[in-house]
Amino acid sequence: MNYYLLIPFLPLTAFLINILFGKKYVQERAHWVSILAVAGSWIVAVFTLLKVLKGETVNEDLYTWVLSGTFEVSVGFLIDQLTTVMLIVVTTCSTLIHIYSVGYMHGDKGYYRFFAYLSLFTFCMLMLVMANNFLQLYFGWEGVGLCSYFLIGYYFNKKSASDAGKKAFIVNRFGDFGFGLGIIVIFLTFGTIYYEPVFTQIGGVAAQTISFLGYEVNLATLIALLLFCGAIGKSAQMPLHVWLPDAMEGPTPVSALIHAATMVTAGVFLLARCSPIFSLSEPAMVVAALIGAITSIFAATIALVQNDIKRIIAYSTLSQLGYMFLACGVGAYTAGIFHLYTHAFFKALLFLCAGSVMHAMAGELDLQKMGGLKKYMPVTYATMFIASLSISGVPGLAGFFSKDEILWLAYAGPSPVGKFVWAIGTIVAFLTAFYSFRLIFLTFHGEFRGTQKQEHHLHESPKSMTVPLMLLTIGAVASGWVGIPNLLGEVIGIEHSNWFSGFMNPVLGHPEAHGTHAEEWMLMGISVLAGLGGIGLAAVFYLGRRSIPVLLAQKFGFIYRILWNKYYVDELYSHTIVRPTLWISQNILMGITDAKIIELIVNGVPRAIGGVSQHLRKVQTGLLQHYAAIMATGALIIGAWILLR
């Protein structure tokens, strides 16, 4: 009995019902369909977890979709420990965010459409994590991308929203191109696209090299790097991170679900899933660790100075995703997935709280216009405060355990860049705590800085929004308790307290760590200090002397401007990629087609093809003789080519 099929197909059913009957019949009841379906998925996912805990994993093909020669594509499912964790994360977050959306999207014109897309997204995400082959993974991968595109541009009448959607779509094309190539290389190398045979055979071909553009490239490295391209696109790592902050144009529940808890972590999932490939390639691992580290510090510094509440959380997401990449890059896949799992709760919570604030502020996003919201919205304040404590790594909360494990394994692991990324990670921990509490203090403490009208409007959000907040808070606090480091476990008297690591062992293996207990205690202390230091500094700056940050911004105006402008990356891309492309297409290609040289068909620039098309269609003059002459000439050329050989 394939009970697990219910997990993805319930949301799909909900999607179909809503999209087909939404406008006429379901209307304002759309949320019931979606919520019931996703909650059903969650129940089945929990059931699956129980089965997997007993050691019953699944890897089977259900239906052969395409069979042509050795090329086989099936709908198949792989349910192991990694999948189960993802299932729990996705269905839990999805269910709570669905419920939250009832209040948040209330009265929206496209209510049923919104829920339909959310359900479709959930389906695609579940297909992604449950796949047992690369092509189905790719299907889910593109599916979530498409849903993300729809949902970012949900307010399509707003230009910035549709532009952001387009940007996300285009930037992801770069990554997905590499990913697609990676799958092709896998198929060409192994003759199959199934995980299992690929992962068992990869050891045999790891030493092989192939000639690529004149370079001898190690096959495992090539595959790993191509797959990594896809991962950095989807998970918004440097240098393809530019789409994620703009993606905040979408409705806040979307930001919480897609751009914080689930879709953007697909890159991390991919790294973990393909750990047998990555582990064989040290260059790819180092690249992953460095990209993760750089992204995390880069995004954290930008977050320091932003004023848009959602953007700060978006940069925070970038930074935390960098952490997960860093973890995978140093071989600590389990820690990466653990952080993915805890992060999903507290980051979704942060976003939903931000949404709750926006709800109260009638869509206002600017921190400078908030303040003192504590007394108006106590539930939101309390939950967001806990979430911020969790992300800052305050001991006992979820974020602490996962972050600490990553830092320890980076430091003590065998990676050549381990110490370096550890240092960066620690600095980032400090910065994270600082900007998280800057957000809290500026929003909830002090005097209200908005207009009178806004102040009058302030209120706590409805139950449908606050209840998910409270439930997620439980996750943000307690989800880390399944992975308490053994060191701490011994202190509080629990044997093998890092139960999560043990659970994931069959899939991701056990990370190496060489260090003494003293070192481990010391590192733990440093990271806790960094977190508390960040909170404290934020308190000094934004609760105490409000003049300090202003002074600093003035004094270090140059740095401030760079951070405020996000290191000018968007501008850099605009100048180096977007504008030259446009310039080339406008000046050179159009110039050439005007000069009637048709040889440039190959330059896939649409305008050039359009120009060619305009010229080519002139051949079709409408005059019968010309048609006949072309036919006769065709026959003549073919005849000459065959007969005069």
Binding site: L623, Q625, H626, A629, A632, T633, A635, L636, G639, A640, L643, L644
Partner: protein
């Protein structure tokens, strides 16, 4: 020698007539030259022991098809026809295309190697006359295509009726 001379006469006349057909300005003249051409082709068929084919060449082609053509040609405004340019575009291009095709095909058919002869030799056909010989295989071996041909002719009738007979109003 005599057959070759005979063939030579037919060949030259057929080619000249064909050229006249495609180059005359007045369509009526073209049709008339075509008529003469069909008679010559029929003559050639007789020369090749195909009496029945020669007969239907005259009856169907000259007698039916060309008369049909003539009817339609006479619908046209011939006076205007004589005033305008008969060719369209550049006829040298067409000449180059057709001459190149001609050279290509003639080159290719130099390698024509005939298949072994069948059992319908000239004597055999003459013994039972061409019409009988043709009729026998047409109604036995080629019964199937014959039936299809009947449907093709039916289509022609329907088509002519649908397209030419009915006068339809435009919705405007």
């Amino acid at each position: 020698m005599l057959p070759k001379l005979f063939f030579g006469y037919y060949a030259v006349v057929i080619i000249v007539l064909s050229l006249l057909v495609v180059t005359r300005k007045n369509p009526v003249h073209s049709v008339m030259w075509m008529l003469l051409l069909f008679f010559h082709i029929a003559g050639l068929y007789l020369f090749l022991n195909a009496e029945f084919i020669a007969a239907i060449q005259i009856i169907v082609y000259a007698g039916a098809i060309l008369v049909l053509f003539l009817f339609v040609v006479l619908l046209l405004n011939l006076r205007e026809e004589l005033l305008i340019e008969r060719f369209i575009g550049t006829w040298p291009t067409a000449l180059v295309i057709s001459v190149s095709l001609l050279i290509l095909v003639i080159r290719a058919i130099q390698d024509m190697a005939l298949a072994p002869p069948g059992n319908h030799s000239v004597d055999a056909i003459q013994a039972e006359t061409h019409t009988v010989a043709l009729g026998k295989i047409l109604y036995t071996d080629y019964l199937f295509p014959f039936e299809i041909a009947s449907v093709v002719l039916l289509i022609a009738i329907i088509g002519a009726l649908v397209l030419a007979k009915r006068k339809m109003r435009s919705p405007q």
